[in-house]
């Protein structure tokens, strides 16, 4: 998995691509979130538009990122889910847990000021 971050109006957008699975993207995602929180960047938008595959470990990592950011007083939202990822979040009942957006501009505006 590849990850790169950019800042838009005080929100850190993490563009992820590839697979978020055990032994591949899960650790990368965890490290990225830890780094952002270490820099007090607590408004995080995960852009999953180029994520091709997530397994249960990857789902767990998304949940962990969500709760870790929230516990530190921040917000984490998801952007641009593919159909496969959308379906996975639906059947695991996580779709309603996450704040899922499909438009970057409105997603950025949705973060608390």
């Amino acid at each position: 998995m590849k990850a790169s971050s950019r800042r838009v109006d005080g929100v850190t957008i993490l563009d992820l691509s590839g697979r978020i699975t055990l032994g591949e993207g899960s650790v990368v995602l965890r490290d990225q979130i830890r780094d952002l929180l270490g820099k007090s960047e607590k408004k995080i938008l995960l852009n999953l538009g180029d994520v091709t595959y997530i397994d249960s470990s990857g789902i767990g990592e998304l949940v962990s990122a969500f709760t870790t950011v929230r516990n530190q007083g921040g917000e984490l939202k998801l952007l641009n889910l593919t159909k496969k990822v959308h379906d996975l979040l639906q059947i695991t009942k996580l779709y309603t847990v996450f704040d899922v957006k499909d438009d970057e501009a409105s997603a950025v505006k949705a973060f608390a000021r």
Binding site: Y53, D55, G60, V63, F66, K84
Partner: protein
């Protein structure tokens, strides 16, 4: 051909996945009906990836929709992770066995480990409110969601999980414990 026993007995048996890539399954370069292949693999993440890739390749040679091929591959990945990580705990002395059988009307996949065994108490409901935000515990649930039949059998030692996907049937997952 449905209902007959596998006839390609010479193609049965265990082999190393490295030595038996998918292209060697059958001289016709296809996973034809009534064939079974079995692999014995080390307890590594590399084995998990290979099991997943083999599942997707073999399913693609059968008349499954692309989405079903993806679901089969993902179910195999989850079962292989359970075997390697939770079952064998990456122990180099313990092996994972993966077999694929095309019965003519279904793809039957068996994955076994030599670990401490999978008990009912080990499988919480990931949809329960108290478990919804837990980091792990969704693997078996996803397997059940993606396959038509799932059977878990205790070995001495270890666990065998059987995954079945029927051709041309949008079945509801059923489960049996033995």
């Amino acid at each position: 051909m449905t209902g007959k026993l596998p006839i390609h007995l010479s193609r049965q048996g265990q082999r190393s996945l490295r030595d038996a890539e998918v292209r060697t399954v059958g001289s016709e370069n296809e996973f034809m009906t009534l064939e079974r292949v079995s692999y014995t693999l080390d307890s590594t993440l590399d084995s998990v990836n290979k099991a997943e890739q083999t599942a997707e390749a073999l399913a693609a040679k059968m008349p499954f929709e692309e989405e079903d091929c993806h679901r089969i591959a993902m179910a195999v990945r989850e079962a292989a992770v359970n075997a390697v990580l939770h079952g064998n705990a990456y122990d180099p002395k313990k092996k994972m066995t993966v077999s694929f059988e095309n019965t003519g009307d279904s793809l039957v996949i068996k994955i076994s480990d030599q670990g401490r065994g999978l008990r009912d108490a080990d499988i919480p409901d990931p949809l329960a409110e108290e478990n919804l935000l837990k980091q792990s515990g969704r693997g078996i649930f996803l397997i059940r969601s993606f396959m038509d039949e799932v059977k878990i059998r205790q070995l001495e030692p270890g666990t065998e999980i059987t995954l079945v996907k029927h051709i041309g049937q949008a079945g509801t997952a059923t489960e049996e414990r033995q």
